[in-house]
């Protein structure tokens, strides 16, 4: 009846196959279809790939593909409690920080928040035009009643990007000093960068309760930390060897070299990494609305779920505005660093 019956018969495994064929356990979709449909004629073109499901049809002792996914799930559930026991307290502060940051951003009245942001933008970019653009954009968002959602998004990005820098820069520095460490970390970074963002969410949903902010905090940090690590490492490795030799000849200690020469000269690259990290945080914070991250993403999601075209598009435009603001401000800061140390 099944295509691969002959293989098990020839190998003399029939007895083993039928040994504990008690009941017809769960049936696969394909089986159901086969039962209802007409028996198909077999030809060279229809030889099925010997997949788990196909082999299971021929021999009940072979597992089905669903057993694999089930196994993975069981394995994960088995270590989940241990992981949780370790990770939960470790990451708890992240929830607190996110919560308090969001509530600070929300509770600051708009007439105080806008000037504060204007000052920050001016200090980092020294450009009055950019300050004007940022103010107009934020006022537009406020005007169409997207102010609260925008502030929530900004609060999350603020926390996650800051943590990315605080963790990523030291990791990048450590990598730049040890080729072995670099060889170990680069595959991890490659993996983090190629995994589709949704895939991060899956294990995290099981590990943490979906109502906790740290769930999306971790997802954003894992996704966005990659460029700052990479570019810190690269920037320090690219520092002119002549200058490093000079620093050695002056009798600088490693610490003096790191803070007086390597980090300052790598700063343009590090800043480029920070810029990318912020942009990736923004991308992820929208996706993270699937796991209860507040902000503009929630509105985008509502637009998709309820087919509310207008809501989705306006919120999407808000995300674009925030992206332009964050990009321009960090690029302006980067340009200032570059201008100060042209060779």
């Amino acid at each position: 009846m099944a295509y691969y019956d002959f293989a098990f018969d020839k190998l003399g495994l029939r007895d083993w196959c039928d040994a504990d064929k008690t009941s017809d356990g769960p049936v696969s979709m394909a089986d159901l279809l086969a039962q209802t449909g007409v028996e198909q004629e077999q030809s060279a073109f229809t030889i099925p790939f010997p997949s788990l499901d196909e082999l299971h049809d021929a021999c009940a002792a072979v597992g089905q593909s669903r057993d694999v996914t089930k196994g993975v799930e069981n394995g994960f559930l088995a270590i989940k409690d241990v992981l949780r026991y370790v990770l939960d307290p470790l990451t708890q502060p992240l929830s607190w920080i996110l919560e308090s940051s969001i509530s600070t951003f929300e509770s600051t009245p708009w007439w105080l928040m806008l000037p504060i942001l204007a000052v920050i933008v001016f200090l980092t970019s020294r450009s009055v035009r950019l300050v004007g653009f940022v103010m107009l954009s934020l006022m537009f968002l406020a005007f169409v009643d997207h102010y609260d959602h925008s502030m929530q998004t900004l609060a999350i990005i603020f926390v996650c990007a800051t943590l990315c820098v605080l963790l990523g820069v030291p990791i990048g520095i450590a990598m730049s000093r040890s080729d072995r460490l670099q060889r170990m970390i680069i595959p991890v970074l490659d993996m983090l960068q190629t995994l589709p963002p949704f895939v991060y969410l899956i294990p995290l949903i099981f590990l943490f309760s979906i109502t906790e902010p740290k769930l999306y905090g971790i997802a954003i940090i894992l996704y966005a930390i990659v460029p700052v690590i990479r570019l810190t490492n690269l920037g320090i490795r690219l520092v002119d060897a002549d200058v490093i030799e000079a620093a050695n000849s002056f009798g600088m200690t490693n610490k003096q070299k790191l803070f007086g020469v390597q980090i300052p000269l790598a700063l343009p690259n590090i800043m480029a990494g920070v810029n990318q990290t912020i942009m990736m945080s923004l991308a992820m914070v929208v996706i993270a609305s699937l796991v209860s991250a507040p902000g503009l993403g929630v509105l985008v999601l509502r637009g998709i779920r309820n087919l509310e075209l207008g809501v989705g598009l306006v919120a999407g435009f808000g995300v674009v505005l925030l992206a332009i603001i964050l990009d321009r401000v960090t690029k302006a800061a980067l340009d200032r660093v570059n201008a100060a140390q042209r060779h």
């Binding site: 002119d240 002549d242 200058v243 030799e245 000079a246 050695n248 000849s249 002056f250 009798g251 600088m252 200690t253 003096q256 007086g260 020469v261 300052p264 000269l265 700063l267 100060a340 140390q341 042209r342 060779h343």
Partner: protein, 352 residues
């Protein structure tokens, strides 16, 4: 020239490669640099180097590119570790130093000037000049005053607030020199310090260095691939080829008595009248002052100035004066002989 020996290099060997110790045996058994590379895959950097560097003198190490000059000077402050040999500074073997003492040596005893300047682009000229004091932990208010003083001394008054990229190459190297001087270290290492500069600016910088040296009497190790520069600056000249010393000594002496075709070829191209000094070719005074002399010339004058004095007349003879006392005589005919490079006619000398 009876100054104390400040730095002495003894039996120094440096081999680049995976197993320098084994390669050293081949070198000691007489394997040449090309053979060592071809047969054993190791680069012979330095071979059997012995130099005494005297305090207060400019020792110039000259050689073509790849001859090992940079490798040699980096052994003095152990930026490069030797394969064998000894480097002592003030009688102390530097190779015995632990990390802390080595750092102290680099901070206090030696300062270095680099071909590509190696200034810190994110710091102002003033901060750059004060780098070495900053590294030592001197307070900013103190080292900036000191840095300012030396910037003025090298002709960069008013540029303290600029950034290096705003200055020309020559000015950047002045900052490099000010940085070395601000450290107030007795030894200065200069690796092709002027090679990246335009000829006119290079001459200015050489004059500046000689002027500073007259005043400060540092122990300077200067590296160059340019013979004119070497002859202008050197009290002691070391000529390097393929990692070994071909000849070393007083530059005038090397010029008049080259001991190797390689050096003969090197010196055949230079303007001898401008480089050779009367002291090097005069006949010391034995008896009375000859009566037929046409005038007096100074002991340290170049031959060029004597030719100008004689108006080109080869029959003239002069009395050589030093500190207003006659010390020798010089015939124009002897002078002309000295102008002819030894073996310059020999075709073979060109092959190097």
């Amino acid at each position: 020239m009876t100054n104390d020996i400040k730095v002495s290099i003894r039996d120094l060997y440096k081999i680049f490669g995976d197993d320098p110790e084994a390669a050293l045996q081949h070198v000691l058994n007489g394997t040449s640099k090309p053979d060592l590379l071809k047969e054993h895959g190791h680069v012979l950097g330095l071979k059997d180097i012995n130099i005494d560097i005297r305090a207060g003198e400019i020792t110039v190490i000259m050689g073509l590119s790849g001859s090992g000059k940079s490798t040699l000077i980096r052994h003095l402050n152990r930026l490069i570790e030797p394969t064998a040999g000894e480097v002592s500074v003030d009688g102390d073997n530097v190779l015995d130093y632990d990390e802390k003492k080595l750092r102290e040596l680099r901070r206090l005893t030696m300062s270095m000037v680099f071909q590509k300047f190696a200034l810190l682009p994110h710091r102002t000229v003033l901060d750059n000049a004060g780098t070495m004091l900053n590294v030592r932990g001197v307070k900013k208010s103190k080292y900036l005053a000191e840095a300012d003083k030396w910037l003025k001394r090298v002709g960069l008054e008013g540029y303290g607030g600029h950034y290096p990229h705003q200055l020309s190459g020559g000015m950047q190297q002045r900052v490099g020199i000010a940085r070395a001087l601000t450290s107030n270290s007795p030894i200065m290492l200069m690796d092709e310090a002027f090679s990246a500069l335009d000829p006119l600016i290079r001459t200015d910088m050489q004059d500046l260095l000689l002027e500073l040296q007259l005043e400060l009497q540092k122990t300077i190790v200067f590296i160059t691939h340019d013979l004119d520069e070497a002859l202008k600056l050197a009290d002691h000249l070391v000529i390097l080829k393929d990692g070994y010393i071909v000849q070393q000594g007083e530059p005038q002496h090397i010029l008049l008595n080259p001991n190797d075709p390689y050096i003969e070829d090197f010196v055949s191209d230079i303007n001898r009248a401008r480089v050779l000094r009367i002291r090097s070719i005069m006949t010391p005074l034995t008896g009375d002052i000859p009566a037929n002399a046409h005038g007096e010339v100074d002991y340290d004058d170049t031959l060029e100035s004597m030719i100008a004095l004689s108006g080109g007349d080869t029959s003239h003879a002069y009395i050589v004066m030093r500190d207003k006392k006659p010390v020798g005589t010089l015939d124009m005919s002897n002078l002309v002989k000295a102008l002819v490079p030894r073996l310059a006619t020999e075709e073979g000398a060109r092959k190097y």
